[in-house]
Subunit: 380 residues, 2 copies
């Protein structure tokens, strides 16, 4: 069943790019695929495009369903559709899977283009897939827009790592972005955030089934490591209070004095970890966390974010959530300050929310009204 | 070299208990050893004893050195010694290793007492060592006092999990405790704290070298899991700010675009993880985290901590640290409130400190002066 105001049944498309892409690391991707979806209709002036950038474990399936019987809709379906805050009656919305991903765009688990040697069999990139950065993603996204004949974005929007991409769009392509909506993001990660990423990566990389990233060839999956990484992730997505509200110290049953599930929270974490480990690619997880670690537009400007943003022209909506300890409001305010230093037009909303970092994905009325209000004034 | 005001060269002792100990789980330890150290001299009235309870990875070696050439002194050496805040000219101080530990007291890695079958070889308890709780520890600590002929404690002191034991002493043995110093503790863990414990345990228990806890027999060590657990621990012991101050986003070298160490913080975490994995017993780690999870004196009183403390007679010093997000000041204040509800004498200090939970181990002047002042007024 489709909900009211759904974008309906959607289909993913794949764009192939045969022109090499030089990455920030200096490595070159000789060719690559980008899988994407679109919702709404591109207007004649090609002026109504909104690009949605995904976060760590997201992908191109942002809204709608592939079949009426699908249990779940796209990951930001509550935001996008006819008459929803990001209104597809007005906007042409693009969602895509980033390079290095595991949902159809070129990444570690996709097949490496055959070399000229005919004897060589198709095999996945594995560890040989390069490390990609937020800057690389934005460059590849620009290629996708070129492919679609779209010069300028009415808006780019993203939460978390997606918000970093939205910010990077305004730096890398100041002429191509009219509005940027940067939600639950930061201008770089704190040491603590990077430390969580490092623990997650080490859990994956020391899993004996990881085989230095070439586990496809060994027909194994570093499932244990990925499971630990995801459990850890879930702790950081929720606030202490949200975990308290949701689970508190609730016991599953009578105390058994064992290492089995005793508390409901344990059951939740194990379930989330197992689910993710069965779906997601470990090499992609490593790359997504590294992209988060590396992003730091102020690095080339002696840490001066205002300087890093000096050529930016877009207008901004920045949103943070009070209980988000992963990307705290304080970090969003750093972005706001640097934008204001450059006399840019910025709206900023600090939303009172219990759900921590995850709040950016939730249909909180106050939050959604802020997005609706801002987007309703975006001219197309 | 020994520092000034050191307790000097110390020797650990072992007390053997042949009377069975019934644990909270209902299991019975038929016999057990407790390893301990003492500093200072027991006075004739036997009224000057201070018991030091250790936290997750602590042990009985609280102060002094085993040899002048030892690199490190006991874990709370900065606090304990002649003329130090916990002054061994005045007090007789006891440190011990808790049951389930891996430093000499009976635990999973110690040899199981031989059964009557002569053919059975000595082998470690392994997974068969029972789960012990804060309540069990306090009972076993009381046995140690009996063994030493000490009826009453001038004070019991502990930080973190050690603070929970100090609190439990005042509940279980109200007549035997004159003062309790409860530092960086909480009346129970939050869901978030328990979640971190669960991730650490899952990392250990899913390590293929864990063998359901019987890795001694397999001559393996679940080193990978223990390493991840410790890395994660270190993130939670430090505040976000402390990690920021200590490491920030400092790079080791030029960015290599790799999963090797790029940031200094990564190097620190890996070092700490490796070191711990080479020293500590995984089965002990599991049990220590479970004891943390389970402790909740209010559980039998419908969550009413004030009721749980209704028979308590001790006087209290409660100390918390502003940047401690693992056991936040708010949680310490819950203890203070419940004590005051019972019209007990309580001093409370909230110390401004940058170092997060770890602050309780550090020689901060303000913090140490608070302890010194309080302890100087304890009558012996």
């Amino acid at each position: 069943m489709l909900e009211n105001n759904s974008v309906g049944i959607v289909t993913a498309q794949t764009a192939h790019f045969s022109e090499p892409l030089t990455l920030q690391s200096g490595e070159v991707l000789p060719q690559f695929d980008v899988v994407f979806e679109t919702y709404g209709t591109l207007n004649a002036a090609k002026s109504n495009t909104v690009l949605v950038c995904h976060a760590l474990s997201g992908n191109h399936h942002v809204a709608g369903k592939y079949a009426e019987t699908d249990k779940n809709a796209g990951w930001w379906d509550n935001l996008i559709g006819p008459n929803k805050p990001l209104d597809t009656n007005k906007f042409f919305v693009i969602g895509l899977n980033n390079l290095g991903g595991c949902h159809g765009s070129s990444g570690p688990s996709s097949l490496k283009p055959k070399s000229s040697h005919k004897s060589e069999k198709d095999q996945p990139y594995g560890a040989s897939f390069p490390i990609v950065t937020v800057e690389d993603w934005v460059n590849s996204q620009a290629r996708l827009l070129n492919h679609l004949g779209i010069t300028q974005l009415a808006a780019v929007i993203g939460g978390s790592l997606g918000g970093m991409q939205a910010l990077q769009w305004t730096i890398a392509f100041p002429e191509r972005v009219k509005h940027a909506l940067i939600i639950a993001a930061a201008p770089n990660l704190t040491a603590q955030n990077m430390a969580f990423n490092e623990v997650a990566r080490q859990a994956i990389m020391t899993d004996p089934e990881f085989y230095d990233g070439d586990y496809y060839a060994h027909k194994t999956v570093p499932r244990r490591g990925l499971r630990i990484a995801r459990m850890l992730g879930h702790i950081t997505y929720l606030s202490d209070n949200a975990m308290g509200e949701k689970f508190g110290r609730k016991l599953k049953d009578k105390i058994k004095y064992s290492f089995d599930v005793e508390f409901e929270m344990e059951s939740y974490l194990r379930y989330q970890g197992d689910k993710f480990a069965g779906e997601f690619d470990a090499n992609t997880y490593l790359r997504m966390t590294r992209a988060l670690d590396y992003y730091d537009p102020a690095l080339g400007y002696g840490g001066d974010l205002s300087q890093a943003l000096k050529n930016v022209k877009a207008k901004f909506l920045v949103v943070s959530f009070t209980s988000d300890w992963r990307f705290s409001p304080e970090r969003s305010r750093e972005i706001v300050k640097a934008l204001l230093d450059n006399e840019l037009t910025v709206s900023y909303a600090e939303v009172t929310a219990l759900h921590g970092h995850d709040a950016f994905l939730m249909p909180d009325t106050h939050y959604h009204n802020i997005l609706r209000g801002y987007l309703s004034k975006v001219e197309v």
